[in-house]
């Protein structure tokens, strides 16, 4: 029994940065003795939004991180702890910013680079953590990611092969229709020509939906073959993220705060 629950399944789980952040928030919330509702009220956030964040379904933006730090009486370093990035030796790519950029959250639906390392340890063992959660007697006492039957693999299915095969063609024909070079498109979509090239060559097995959406938007591609590719999958994933937070209510709260 070495250290912080090495034998624990929790430790063996692969965490995403969103889940790591979620655990940090839950931990400090419980330490502060706050319920989700209380914390949500303090920071002017919708409780469903906070719940989604605490289940690791959302990546917070800087302002949300700072608000939560303030609401929890924690330090900045507390909430962004246990996450690292290894600088790559080769070309890498991140989903461009600004897509679905609403109220400090984004739906978590792009690939996690293996260079983002996340530590599963840092607190007590899961059992003690869960006990504390039970004591809180909340509506949603044990976050999904701490349950025994928590999925250990990727949460969303890979897209089916036929869909993947259609995407390069749809992208290339739309780009050619618009008369743009890969470089021009890359500039507009805030990505790299090399990445557009990989997409068009079908070398990206699971292209991020937000990336595709950004590219489609840069091509003014509403109603095109490319948008016909994107929309059904987007609808599917939206449905999968069951409780999408009540964004308008959150915006109102923010407006009131300002």
């Amino acid at each position: 029994m070495s250290g912080l629950g090495q034998e624990d399944k929790w430790v063996g789980k692969e965490w995403t940065p969103a889940e790591r952040f979620a655990a940090n928030v839950v931990w400090f919330r419980l330490k502060a003795g706050l319920t989700q509702q209380e914390l949500a009220d303090r920071v002017g956030m919708n409780r469903t939004a906070l719940s989604a964040l605490e289940r690791g379904l959302r990546l917070p933006r800087l302002d949300t991180i700072l608000k939560l730090v303030a609401g929890l009486g924690a330090e900045n370093c507390d909430l962004v702890a246990w996450m690292w990035w290894d600088p790559p030796g080769h070309e890498s790519y991140e989903t461009p910013p600004g897509v679905a950029d609403i109220g400090g959250y984004e739906v978590w639906d792009f690939d996690v680079s293996p260079r983002l390392r996340v530590s599963p340890v840092g607190y007590e063992t899961r059992e003690r953590f869960r006990d504390r959660l039970r004591q809180m007697d909340e509506e949603d006492p044990v976050p999904e990611l701490l349950r025994d039957d928590a999925p250990s693999a990727a949460l969303r299915p890979r897209p089916d092969a036929a869909w993947v095969a259609r995407t390069p063609q749809a992208l290339r024909s739309l780009r050619e229709e618009r008369g743009l070079s890969r470089e021009q498109l890359a500039e507009r979509a805030r990505t790299t020509a090399a990445f557009i090239g990989k997409l068009e060559e079908g070398e990206v097995p699971d292209p991020g939906l937000q990336t595709l959406t950004e590219i489609c938007r840069a091509l003014d591609g509403e109603g095109s073959g490319l948008s016909a590719q994107i929309e059904p999958v987007r609808a599917e994933r939206r449905a999968a993220v069951q409780k999408v937070p009540d964004e308008p209510a959150e915006r109102d709260a923010r407006a009131a705060e300002e």
């Binding site: 302002d63 900045n76 679905a100 805030r190 705060e257």
Partner: protein, 90 residues
Amino acid sequence: MGKKKGPQATEAGRAFGRNLARLRGRAGLSQEGTADRAGLHRTHVAMIEAGQRLPRLDTIVKLGGALRVEPCELLAGMTWKLAEPKEGPK
């Protein structure tokens, strides 16, 4: 869609940009070099450094890794003042 940012968020973005510029200078990296190491696009890094864009958690972690500092060093000195609680129980 609403990309409205309050004054505090704007200030947070600027403070982050200043931290980024300072740590980047210390690491002796250009914006482009930083972007490469962080796996981000150069214009994205430039916008963050100019305080025009609020970085997301993963971006913060990536920038920290690129500059070889703990991610939270980029948040040094930043605080958020919460609004007073509203009237009445929820």
